[in-house]
């Protein structure tokens, strides 16, 4: 089923301290983290965001600390996927592991504006901008990652693997 939502757009090098400030790392429940998501760089984000919404950002999204709380906060706030020119490595792993889809597509990032309505098909990587009637294709996932995504995250993927070994 394709994802559909409104775009929240950001620049390059959005760090995990910006996604979830460290002062909230004494919390770990998804709903508690979501309440503070993006608050230092976009105070209204949490008021504006609706379930299914999509973040579009420039290069190196999610750089800095390894805190999985950043991906958890985004997912719990309702974000259905993040499209960027590139992602920081640990953020990328964390997102795949918890089942928050990420797509890399430079042309889409350059073209899409804040407030646009997007439709995203994860299997084909097709991004449709319903507001401007344009389409883009994101870089496909390597097979291994697609398996993790299809399983619903690394825990589910590992559970399956362990069950197979027994």
């Amino acid at each position: 089923m394709p994802l559909k939502g409104t775009v929240h757009k950001y620049g390059a090098n959005v760090d995990t301290d910006a996604i979830i400030p460290a002062r909230y790392l004494n919390l770990h429940e998804p709903a508690d983290l979501a309440r503070h998501c993006m608050e230092d760089i976009d105070a209204d984000f949490i008021k504006r965001v609706n379930a299914g919404d999509i973040i579009v950002a420039d290069t190196n999204f999610g750089c800095g600390s390894s805190r999985e709380h950043a991906t958890v906060a985004l997912k719990a706030s309702g974000i259905s996927c993040v499209i960027a020119k590139s992602f920081a490595r640990i953020f990328f792993r964390n997102a795949i592991n918890i089942g928050l889809p990420l797509l890399e597509c430079e042309e889409a990032v350059d073209s899409i504006q804040a407030g646009d309505m997007l439709e995203v098909d994860l299997v084909s990587g097709k991004i449709t901008n319903l507001s401007s009637n344009t389409t883009f294709t994101a870089r496909p996932y390597p097979d291994f990652m697609m398996q993790v995504i299809k399983a619903g995250g690394l825990v589910e993927h590992t559970r399956k693997r362990l069950a197979g070994e027994r």
Partner: protein, 417 residues
């Protein structure tokens, strides 16, 4: 194969691995802390396994908000203490603890050629010992605790060669800040950084830990040094375990080789709000400051405290600012005490704290107000990292930090010594 590829091949049952390949890697040590372990524990409990793969290869360190800074931190610390005890893991309680990346090498828990997976981005610190050490998230660590394995994409390697002899006040911090300033915060994205050349061979182990520590600030997956006599001397008395010293092949394939002349590198200061925004000390200008932090997993080791004390000895911290020194571990603290460094620092007007990550991530022990500026020996200067979103962090080495503490503005050691 490069150094990283050799270690990963050996840990994945392959004769050869190449960049881009997905492999399952056996881990020699799995690490987490008081803020990443709670999520790892929750995910571990969902895996449907009753035991960890090997309790003696799993470490939990309460260091970020410990000694507990508030009730929620206390709850998280309690959660990891109970899990660690239940599963008989390696665990360092307050009193024995320190910052994870300072104490693990200190206790001989990481050796050359090993693979370490840590739920903390600065896990790359152990690359100083010739290990492949990389940060990841809590779910990865949950799976690693259960299976002893992690999935990995083999990274390409970028080789950095530092020629020449660094200047008097130039240390590992300056070499790595300079590098990040040149290549950017994603200049080594997804890559292993291999550090070579006379200038890094010249660094002490403490200086190498500082450099490897900040590989992540260039987006790197690991930052690795070659094993030499300094490494071997460091390990002596810390371990009885056997280890393998890997070397890159002479025909290893590097994504690129970048060469710098260390003699040309000045002490570096990273301006707000990104570590790549570096300037040489001579181009800093007049920046008045409100606070100095000397410590962290980057610069909280004995060499760092010794350097700070050398500058502050017989001088006074400027009355308009707070200078906070945080030894990275109880051992660093005690060694500094025995050498008279702590007395020197306190007499100069610095506050000395028990080991903690504390202010580096805006936790406590030095949080900044709106408009305040801090010179810090830590690793990140993102907006809001140390407190108010309108505060500013300037990253520097311990000598510059100490000189700045005396001057009340960003200053070089030559100005005060």
């Amino acid at each position: 194969m490069t150094l990283a590829e050799k270690i990963l091949a050996a840990h994945s049952g392959n004769n050869k691995v190449s960049p881009g390949e997905f492999i399952n890697v056996k881990t020699d040590l799995v690490l987490s802390n008081d803020i990443t372990a709670p999520i790892a524990i929750k995910e571990f409990n969902r895996l449907g396994v009753s035991k960890v793969f090997d309790p003696q290869k799993i470490v939990m360190v309460p260091d970020h908000f410990c000694p507990n800074k508030d009730i929620q931190s206390a709850e998280q610390a309690k959660m990891i203490r109970e899990f660690a005890h239940k599963h008989n893991l390696i665990y360092f309680e307050v009193g024995e603890m320190g910052i994870e990346h300072v104490i693990l090498p200190e206790k001989g828990l990481v050796l050359p050629g090993e693979v370490v997976a840590g739920a903390d981005s600065h896990t790359c610190t152990y690359g100083a010992l010739g290990a492949f050490a990389t940060g990841m998230g809590s779910t990865d660590i949950a799976v690693a605790m259960a299976t002893g394995e992690i999935w990995m994409k083999v990274p390409p390697t970028i080789k950095f060669v530092f020629h020449g002899k660094p200047g008097k006040w130039v240390g590992g911090k300056d070499l790595i800040l300079y590098t990040i300033g040149k290549i950017g915060v994603d200049g080594a994205l997804y890559s292993a950084m291999e550090f070579a050349g006379e200038a890094v061979a010249d660094l002490s182990m403490d200086g190498r830990f500082t450099m490897a520590n900040m590989a992540i600030e260039a987006g790197g997956k690991a930052g690795i040094f070659y094993v030499d006599n300094k490494t071997r001397a460091y390990l002596k008395g810390r371990t009885t375990r056997k280890y393998t010293e890997y070397k890159p092949d002479s025909d290893a394939n590097y994504a690129s080789v970048i060469e710098y002349d260390a003699a040309e590198i000045e002490p570096q200061v990273a301006f707000p709000h990104i570590p790549s925004n570096t300037r040489p000390l001579s181009k800093v200008g007049n920046i008045p400051i409100d606070q100095v932090i000397i410590g962290s997993c980057t610069n909280g080791r004995l060499d760092d405290l010794r350097l700070a004390a050398r500058i502050l000895k017989g001088r006074k911290v400027n009355p308009n600012l707070r200078c906070i020194v945080i030894p990275g571990s109880q051992k660093v603290y005690l060694d500094a005490l025995k050498q008279g460094l702590i007395e020197t620092l306190i007499k100069a007007g610095a506050a000395v704290s028990t080991p903690t990550c504390g202010p580096c991530l805006g936790g406590y022990m030095g949080v900044l107000a709106a408009g305040e500026r801090c010179v810090s020996t830590t690793n990140r200067n993102f907006a809001g990292r140390m407190g108010h979103i309108k505060s500013e962090i300037y990253l520097a080495n311990p000598a510059v930090a100490a000189a700045s503490a005396i001057s009340g503005r960003i200053a070089g050691p030559e100005e005060v010594v």
